[in-house]
Symmetry: C2
Subunit: 232 residues, 2 copies
């Protein structure tokens, strides 16, 4: 540490180094904020900010009265915000376009019913649409919407507003399951996305529920140039 007043970054990195090099052992209580502030020649608020960052990164655990300990088992979580696809595209600085491909009342095939845990046929909308970024296919959305759970969907034509945006407005959910995986583009996906059949695609799948009742199942297909990125 330099003799000048230390930045919270310098303090954070120095404390992380002590944890990494086991000068501060896992589970051990580390010195109090006042002691650290004196040692680092910094304001107590600066030390506090550095400790906050280490806690956020999972390196230390802070308890209001019990002080700060080096984490025994750092648990790391990556968090992905689930934005509207329009916002996701616009956030990249690209122009958003939306194209409805089809919308019809239909019975979900066996594979969809199985994923939704439905044992009887119920009325669903099947909606297919394309989201474009700067006129290039960005996401192919293939969606089933329960008309039992969201009867208002019958009045939505999805010509101008995508089912993604419409559902966020009209069908709040209590539970959701997200799945991400790689797959080979089907003939239909290749045609819609202007890819070769069998080319790798990045697939997101989402099911939402209102209580025990499934609202929607959506398959979102992206070209292999797609990146899902988050920072900790």
């Amino acid at each position: 540490m330099s003799g000048t007043r230390s930045s919270f970054r310098a303090i954070r990195d120095e404390m992380a180094r002590r944890i990494a090099e086991r000068l501060w052992l896992p589970g051990a209580l580390i010195p109090g904020e006042e002691v650290l502030a004196r040692e680092f020649g910094a304001a107590r608020a600066t030390v506090n900010r550095a400790l906050q960052e280490l806690a956020r990164a999972g390196l230390v655990e802070r308890r209001r009265r019990a002080g700060t300990r080096v984490a025994l088992h750092p648990v790391r979580e990556a968090r992905f915000v689930i934005p509207l696809v329009r916002q996701e595209i616009e956030a990249r600085g690209a122009e958003y376009q939306y194209r409805l491909l089809s919308r019809e009342e239909a019975s979900p095939p066996e594979v969809v019913r199985a994923r939704l845990g439905l044992d009887v046929t119920a009325p669903f909308f099947h909606v297919r649409c394309l989201h474009l970024a700067d006129r290039l296919p960005y996401q192919f959305e293939d969606r089933w919407i329960s008309l039992d759970v969201v009867p208002a969907a019958r009045r939505a034509d999805f010509e101008d507003v995508s089912p993604n945006e419409w559902l966020v407005e009209h069908a709040p959910f209590t539970d959701a399951e997200f799945t991400f995986r790689a797959a080979a583009a089907s003939a239909e996906e290749a045609a819609v996305m202007q890819l070769r059949e069998g080319e790798p695609v990045f697939v997101g799948e989402r099911i939402t529920w209102l209580g025990e009742r499934p609202i929607t199942l959506v398959r979102m297909v992206h070209p292999s140039s797609h990146r899902m990125v988050t920072r900790l």
Copy 2:
């Protein structure tokens, strides 16, 4: 709602329905816990639990003294816990095996240096290894470790303990970037993973930093049967 004492699930679903159908408008204050408990014929603790679930799902916002409001802009986050690959495999009920493929001091190629933001050549370990589940390739790990930031890595042979586990123990990080995407298996990846070249693979990439200094860059390749799943 039935006349019998309501479960927290039934209360949660009823409140979600009122939000979905705009009986309770976005931003509006909803009735207090005591009022709801009387209406639903439930204990106040049961209503509290239902409200907690709605808040966790992002449908309502609770303020200690100001009461509970319907969320104006529900923000949804998917959280993925970052486990050790060994724990991930064992949690699936499969037998874990680990195989070191290579470990050598080497200069990162230009593409790796660019990802790490390094403008000069620094000493790195390049480690390649395979994680197996029930004797089948589960993840191919191709990793660069900075020997400047983690000098202790020179003494690690990675014969029995994977770099994944070794780094969790020895190299706490303050910052991380996670990327997920689909790709076509390279010739090397296909050989190691027993896949065909060009077959879709699910790729995770992780960079960790100690302050401003990059610790490691790892590319984790999974077959297309891999699923990354989380629930909200």
